[in-house]
Point group: C2
Chain length 308, copies 2
């Protein structure tokens, strides 16, 4: 299986549908809608919706039947990036090579665009028509998973802990501070990144009406995969900096606590590899259709090895 081709093709369907969902919100203030579409159109690998589709197919569905739910998750991911880039947060000027939302639309509208992307993720998820096999109770469960994983016991707490961790590295790294750093970092990664990736596969399982046992198995896979994703990201951030010779990303500028900064790149790489192995072991434990299961394994491998 050519996994990069698979991801590209699945992502293309998401890219095609995404702006239409926002533009379908008739009556939206034009500049607000423009800011929402601007951030959605910035690209990205669309890994979360692709994961959701594959998880759904593993339990017998066809990914295109749950496209609204897949797009809803990408709306939530996009909102989190828009707010994360704000001057009060990471203060980033560029995202995927383009000026960030607040650079183009101003801070106030960027805050509102993020708010609307988050809110309308639920509009898209809850108001769309699904084929009869996607029962209202399944949609309800998927929406509950999304809000729980994205909210105060999920992603937002990861962001809050990330703020708390800023400047952590300025102090000397004694063994006990290093241990405290690892603990804090595990919390940040679990919530800031792994929760939304876990939500992707959980929502796929929920929409397919997967039995509770399978839901839990796929959830465990998503968690390890999400942690692996963030470690790989940390390593890339450092590698990317080296290539650009001093043009530091915001992680380095903000003295951010990452696996790479805390453990060094080599140790972080090993950690990532262990997480990849663990996620694949979890996936083997899931009962599901072979082809989408192989796709999920391919995506996990890609997540660890990707270069951007």
């Amino acid at each position: 299986m050519d996994i990069e081709k698979y991801i590209r093709e699945r992502a293309a369907a998401v890219n095609k549908a995404l702006p239409a969902f926002v533009l379908g919100l008739k009556g939206a203030q034009p500049r607000l809608a423009e800011a929402m579409v601007y951030s959605l159109a910035a690209g990205g690998k669309r890994l979360r919706p692709v994961l959701m589709g594959a998880a759904y197919e593993m339990f017998g569905g066809r990914a295109r039947d749950i496209l609204p739910a897949a797009c809803a998750l990408e709306l939530v991911h996009t909102y989190s990036l828009v707010h994360d880039d704000l001057p009060a947060m990471d203060d980033d000027d560029l995202r995927r090579g383009r000026p960030t939302s607040h650079k183009v639309y101003g801070e106030a509208l960027a805050i509102l665009a993020g708010d609307a992307l988050l809110t309308d993720a639920f509009t898209v998820l809850l108001s769309s028509k699904y084929p009869a096999r996607v029962k209202p109770a399944h949609v309800l469960r998927a929406a509950a998973v999304l809000s729980a994983r994205a909210g105060a016991r999920g992603m937002v707490s990861g962001q809050a802990a990330d703020l708390q961790a800023e400047g952590f590295l300025r102090g000397r790294l004694t063994p006990s501070r290093r241990a405290a750093g690892r603990k804090l970092l595990a919390y940040i990664h679990l919530h800031k990144t792994a929760d939304l990736i876990t939500a992707a596969v959980e929502m796929g399982a929920a929409l397919a009406g997967a039995p509770e046992k399978d839901f839990r198995a796929v959830s465990a896979f998503g968690r390890e995969l999400g942690l692996c994703f963030q470690v790989a990201d940390d390593v890339l951030d450092v590698a990317g900096d080296k290539k650009k010779l001093g043009k530091s990303g915001s992680d380095a500028r903000n003295n951010k606590l990452t696996y790479a900064s805390l453990l060094g790149v080599e140790q972080a790489r090993l950690e990532g590899e262990a997480l990849l192995r663990r996620s694949l072991a979890r996936l083997r434990g899931v009962r599901g259709a072979a082809a989408p299961k192989a796709a999920l394994a391919g995506i996990a491998d890609f997540v660890y090895r990707r270069e951007n």
Copy 2:
């Protein structure tokens, strides 16, 4: 009926339940949870949840059965205040006599607390246990109403138009600019304020499984009531300023477009009275139980006459 006592009693049940929903989100980052509870505990009349309960009872339910949904709406309302107060938005230091969230917790955490309040409104609404008469399909409908009314075709667009209107009054008010101002103001009031009040009664009807015709009738009532609420608010803002002798609220400071600033206080009062009459006429057209219907009429009257 002593309507102020009715509102106080109904609000007390909401006040009791609200922090518990946030503190029930186990695993939330402690400072984030504290910021969420801080803004929820700031008080307020809890009109939206009280309206939802009354609308639900009009179609045969008991308000306490839908307390999670009522609290979810108050979470959304609270998030909107936290973000509205931010330096990039209205830049308010005080809310209900207490320092605003960003004054206490900093801008970054205030943004995150708002994000979490919004997201977890859906967690509370979708994950709570309801009595069997509140069917999953009813909860799904109520959640779809909430996201649509709060999102880009609803409340957030009202906020975006409000930003756009800032400074409108600095230019000379020619008749054609005054007409344009009225049109813009109607859009702002409809979305910024009326949409969430409409959502309150619509969600009550949706949770009761009210027939489509009744849903639409109660929705029309909510819309006029919401518009009346905002006009009364504009009048109060000016009256409040006069009493405080120069201690201007943010509306006046930001040269904000309001009914009072555009039409003068007396004309705005008349407009509010007309909206009150229209909302009561709409309410008479709703088929529903007499006592909660009388309560809704009393609340409408209170909204127009209140002094804070």
